[in-house]
Symmetry: C2
Subunit: 404 residues, 2 copies
């Protein structure tokens, strides 16, 4: 394989956050009508100006700089004192023990944790079960490691109270020799949470077929009312076969510090650290200090953040459900919403570019998450409430304008 | 290849900074005499408490946090405004143009830049020329990418005014099909600078054999008096075949922010960004702001930093040259010194552990850098001056104690 062919599948042309590198050329002949004025909203990621970082996070960072060398240079897997603090909190949150010494690694962002976890478990030719739709990098990580992706469909749109993962397909993938199952819960982009029954079924299948499970729980703290969350690592599965990934990111608006953690299997985390040594050495030395605020927010702060997001979610659902032919499932956790648009006269990717041009609205095309989601778009609604609602009103106005 | 065998070559058991994970077990029977008291010195990396970060760096970081979303979320390759500033400064420093838009990427540390550059140029089976000795991760990066390493010896010990790279071996490696040549200049660990003639010879050979060159110039700013530095990228070689790596790190004591840059070939940097998207997404958003201080230090600040390091170097050389049988070349740039110890009664790796135990001195074993450097140790002398000298006196005392 040439390096060119290896990278041809790793396109970032439609990746969230890269819109500035995406040219609008050739779209003019498709345009109908004028632009709709309004405050631009970039739904490709959360707005840390609308939802500000955890109180005290900057002060803790400053104390890290003040501490100097011992905070700048840590073990590759992160400062031990911080790992000790986190281990206790993460054990409490997930309901299963975390080994601070050997069972946890701090990484540059949760993206760093995902990369290391996949690259430490998947080698050339290994089969990996991947959900469709799921986080856009999952597929690319498998491709980069030259693994073979076994897709598993999730019918999130028409189910209630569960994710809609096709457990038959999952067993098929495991029976075909999948060595690793990688998935996000809550699901990114669909915003749905796996039911207890689904998690138990995954655990039973992984156990039966000896599959390693990497679960990305980045948004597991931002749960809306009435939603029950089941931590996979607290179920009956060999702890050495599970890696859980989290990080203080969108929920806490700490993404500017680029921090993630992976915890679980000691053997896999040992390999992840070996790889981190040559990939990035360690997470930012001073930034690591910010983790001291994580799971230690002021009383009521997280509850309020959840309430505010739930209120935005509810208003966006009203906007989306007011027009015909648009399908959208209620987000159960996290700040993503993934409406399926009605049939349009332009291709999905073109509509995304038109939205940017005529409505000042940036969304991520569904095809980043699944080949079957061409008519869906992902929005991160961790935004200024009023601006987000107005932007979605422009979005549905353009949907109407471009209907097939 | 199983994942276990793939990772078996990526050991960090003797890697700098990981000493806390290295057990001292089994060494007691080898010990002679008592410990030598003294302030412990960790020569595995520079001491940012002894040499503090660039003035104003924390203020610039704070302004980045204050700026909020637009600093937290940047293009994966980094904020464009910062890239523009850097492009001008790096062009001035290296003597060849830098394309801010397409020819530069900001990474998590220079380690991140190295990983991306190698993974964006080396695929399975590709041959890569690697210098011995050179930065310990270079070999591991090639192994991770499943490339084939073609070693090229550098006889730094017995040469003057040049690195001592074996140009015959380099041509041999190129003739054998090396696709990439990866090296550090100044050399880490030997602290030597490639002469103009050597750089010109490398350029001529790379051009003749169509080899891509990745040059790690991390320490190129910390040049001691009388040393001439030749930037490879300013020579007559297709600019698309060169990637240069630098970063504000030890020299500026900014390593706690984890920042690196790679610049040069647009095609390779485009691939590096695609890979960064799945490896770590981007360098720390707020940390990127610190780059605004880079190459813009207060007048005289860098000169003073160089003088201070040169003074430490000179004193360490006196300590090392006072004992018989120890060979050491004068460091020309950077803050590494790489003495070859006389024949000892214990193995090199054991002596490193003895040093830690009996002298409170942490050094990195030479075998991390070359299989032929078992009797060498690397020290980063960016330390408190008096403490560094005293620690080296303890080191030579133990050399005498353990002579064969």
């Amino acid at each position: 394989m040439t390096i060119q062919s290896k990278f041809s599948g790793l396109g970032t042309d439609a990746a969230p956050g890269q819109e500035v590198r995406q040219l609008a050329g050739g779209i003019e002949p498709l345009l109908r009508g004028d632009a709709i004025p309004g405050r631009p909203v970039d739904f490709s990621h959360g707005d840390v100006d609308a939802f500000t970082p955890t109180p005290g996070s900057f002060e803790v960072f400053s104390a890290g700089v003040e501490a100097g060398g011992k905070q700048a240079y840590t073990e590759y897997r992160g400062d031990f004192g911080i790992r000790e603090q986190l281990a206790g909190r993460l054990a409490g949150f997930t309901g299963a023990p975390v080994d601070a010494s050997d069972g946890l690694i701090i990484t540059p962002g949760t993206q760093g944790a995902l990369f290391l976890a996949v690259a430490a478990t998947v080698s050339r030719g290994d089969k990996v079960a991947i959900v469709q739709p799921d986080y856009f990098a999952n597929r690319k990580l498998v491709e980069f490691c030259e693994g073979e992706m076994l897709p598993v469909r999730m019918d999130y749109a028409t189910t209630e109270g569960r994710s809609g993962l096709d457990l038959g397909q999952l067993e098929g993938a495991f029976r075909s020799g999948a060595k690793v199952f990688l998935f996000s819960n809550p699901n990114n982009p669909a915003g749905v949470v796996y039911s207890r029954e689904e998690i138990e079924a995954i655990v039973a299948l992984a156990s039966r077929y000896d599959v390693t499970v990497i679960v990305d729980q980045l948004y597991a703290r931002l749960l809306y009312s009435g939603v029950d969350y089941t931590h996979l690592r607290a179920q009956k599965l060999d702890a050495e076969k599970i890696v859980t990934i989290m990080g203080p990111s969108k929920t806490e608006s700490l993404s500017g510090y680029r921090l993630g953690v992976a915890f679980g299997s000691r053997e896999i985390i040992a390999r992840m650290e070996k790889l981190q040594a040559i990939v990035s050495l360690r997470a930012g030395g001073y930034s690591q200090a910010v983790l001291r605020t994580w799971f230690d927010e002021p009383a009521g702060w997280m509850d309020q953040r959840i309430r505010q997001h739930q209120a935005i979610r509810d208003d966006l659902l009203k906007v989306f459900r007011a027009i015909s032919g648009l399908q959208v499932r209620t987000t159960e956790a996290g700040s993503y919403i993934f409406p399926a648009l009605p049939r349009l006269s332009v291709r999905g990717g073109d509509f995304v570019r038109i939205l940017r041009l005529q409505a000042g609205v940036i969304v991520t095309p569904g095809t980043e998450f699944s080949p079957f989601a061409e008519n869906s778009v992902r929005l991160n609604f961790s935004q200024d409430h009023a601006a987000a609602v107005a932007a979605c009103e422009r979005l549905v106005a353009l949907v109407d304008r471009y209907r097939a």
